[in-house]
Symmetry: C2
Subunit: 390 residues, 2 copies
């Protein structure tokens, strides 16, 4: 699984080369680990040069023991022009960089090293390309979802009376790692720090966070104000488990909710509305649908049930109910009321209509679906009802 | 501990304001989580504006429920000029940004929003300022080191015959979390991904990685080629444990090495050389020393013992033997043969002379020291000899 199949590598390169040509550039320079992995099957410290045609060139700072005709060891970007010349290539005049990911310092140094070419941003286009997955990639997401379900099924056996949210999370983290979780997972954009996922118990689900995730939580350290905050898992509260599905390089995303001993009827009702939204969306949409329509259908059902004040938070409410998922946890498309993206076959979609009930906690589920011509394939197959921990 | 004491906040702000004045700028804009936390005591999604004099202004995108006279809720950076005017301030003409951290896209958007001021880079200067810690910060590093030692002392009891490096690491990770580890820790620069630390057993210690850490390791996923790779902990091999000391916002750094049942004499000898290097450095240096001198002393002792081929790796050798540590795991100073930095009182220094022995594994220790006028204070107090796991 660590080897990137040749036909995958070829088809990805071709798509990027088409984008380079369409954006009228001479070269594209990949520096982010996610896109290096996606294009090469491995990560290195250095610069991956792609051209509208022909093979890529890799200028590699580390590891120092690389070998291969297309791999050139370098110490600094200033060596690149000379090595391009040696390879019979002229300095590119219009270059695409991953401007959303590379630092301002690194980008300006690279520009200067290349004698100040005109610069464009390939970050968004790469995200669009990666949003539509190959069958090889989708199969990894399905595999990850199967392991994800196995870990979630262990949760009732990990629970002990008197535990805090964090203590339960630590036991889940251990099971995740024993089942092959990579630990880290990657997200796109700034202010998206997270550690292995999110657990929200009781009123901690109301705490607003600086991060752009569906829900917040106060966290246990000011360095990471998100998720579990040491709340005792008390009878009558819910605990929402949204831990990572990072069991393959391509990830799934899944949330399930648990009840500590018992919970008020409203928790069951709102949880059912979340499941009903999932079912309505599955029954209504397939490839070709406008992403905003998914959001609007959900919003309408929330209103019908009078649950607007609790939808996607209370103090701070997220304005989306889902997102793409793949090598990063937040890929296109985003499901908001104004999304202009169209569902395409091969997209992997995490749908997460959630409610936060004051005095109780968060309820609802998140599933990952694969978009097909004829419908949405649910791949996170795991008990959806509220499960009692006792 | 989550509350930033007022005198700390005041003294940090003053140091940055002095730097702003010295760099002849009208404003400095902080966007990185680490520096926001360092200056405010909390993290937010938005822009922290500092001026050469007077109070900072916070333009906050998230969380949405912030309140305070100096905190202005915004949706986008284009709103900032109008709000500066409302606050009676003119648009800055020369602005310092964290150019080593902010993305090229975010920086150019911010520049455009502010009507294209001249731009300077404050990243390096902030790192220099943060390298010298206050007594409050040093006390956190000491506290973290005490917990770090308690976790490492559990390692022999976590070991079971027939375990892999990863299985042992998972049990250590669980103990770290139960002892208050934040999980994530922060590093400076690109290509510095890591998950909770590094464990290297046997010949996996020779594997070169793309990251700028002291040693490498192949890892278990192509998304994170670093550290444990599933190596069976076999008799005769060593396992080096360099897991994070992130028990407070300010961190320590510590490595200890274990022997599976038994190991050849060369492992004991090289391990002793590492300890001797530590002792020689403690006995020789204090505040005022040139950082390169620490490296050169270590190098000399390595040569005397004929261990150059194994020093800081084999296939790929790191060119440093230590680094500062604080809110980030890799702070200034860096200890290389050419470091021009001077040891200053209040610096926290992680010293890690290590050897990689083919067919055996990595040996050596890492301690964290606090630099004082009259010497180096060792704060990672934990058995230093090779400890047998059996």
């Amino acid at each position: 699984m660590n080897e990137l199949p040749l036909h995958e590598a070829g088809s990805r390169l071709k798509k990027v080369q088409q984008a380079i040509a369409e954006m009228q550039a001479d070269a594209c320079i990949i520096t982010s680990p996610v896109n290096q992995y996606w294009l090469c099957g491995f990560i290195f410290d250095g610069f991956l040069f792609l051209f509208p045609e022909g093979d890529p060139l890799l200028f590699v700072k580390r590891p120092s023991n690389i070998a291969g005709e297309r791999m050139k060891p370098i110490r600094k970007p200033e060596q690149i022009p000379g090595m391009l010349r040696e390879a019979g290539l002229s300095l590119p005049k219009r270059v695409l960089i991953e401007a959303d990911q590379i630092s301002f310092s690194a980008a300006t140094r690279l520009q200067a090293a290349l004698d100040m070419p005109e610069t464009g941003n390939i970050s968004g286009e790469l995200r669009k390309i990666r949003a539509v997955k190959s069958e090889y990639e989708l199969e990894q997401i399905r595999q990850s979802a199967r392991i994800h379900a196995k870990v979630y099924e262990l949760i009732p056996s990990l629970y002990r009376k008197g535990m805090t949210d964090l203590e339960l999370q630590i036991e889940i983290e251990r099971q995740m790692r024993l089942h092959g979780s990579a630990g880290i997972f990657r997200s796109f954009g700034e202010n998206m720090d997270i550690f292995m996922g999110s657990m929200l118990a009781g009123d901690n689900a109301q705490a607003a966070s600086p991060y752009d995730y569906a829900l917040g939580g106060a966290g246990v350290t000011p360095l990471l104000p998100l998720g579990a905050n040491g709340t005792l898992l008390a009878p009558g509260a819910t605990v929402m488990v949204d831990m990572a599905g990072n069991y393959r390089p391509w990830m799934d995303d899944m949330t399930r909710t648990f009840v500590i001993e018992h919970a008020p009827g409203i928790a069951y009702k709102a949880h059912e509305v979340s499941i009903n939204i999932h079912n309505a969306i599955i029954n209504t949409f397939r490839a070709g649908a406008l992403c905003s329509e998914l959001y609007l259908l959900a919003e309408e059902m929330v209103k019908e049930n009078g649950l607007q004040p609790y939808f996607m938070g209370t103090v701070q409410q997220a304005k989306f109910i889902g997102h793409g998922v793949g090598l990063e946890i937040n890929e296109p498309p985003v499901l908001t009321s104004r999304s202009e993206e169209i569902l395409e076959p091969g997209m992997a979609l995490a749908l997460e209509p959630k409610f936060v009930l004051p005095g109780i906690g968060a309820v609802g589920i998140e599933n990952t679906y694969i978009v097909h011509e004829n419908g949405l394939e649910k791949i996170t197959l795991c008990e959806e009802a509220l499960v009692v921990l006792a």
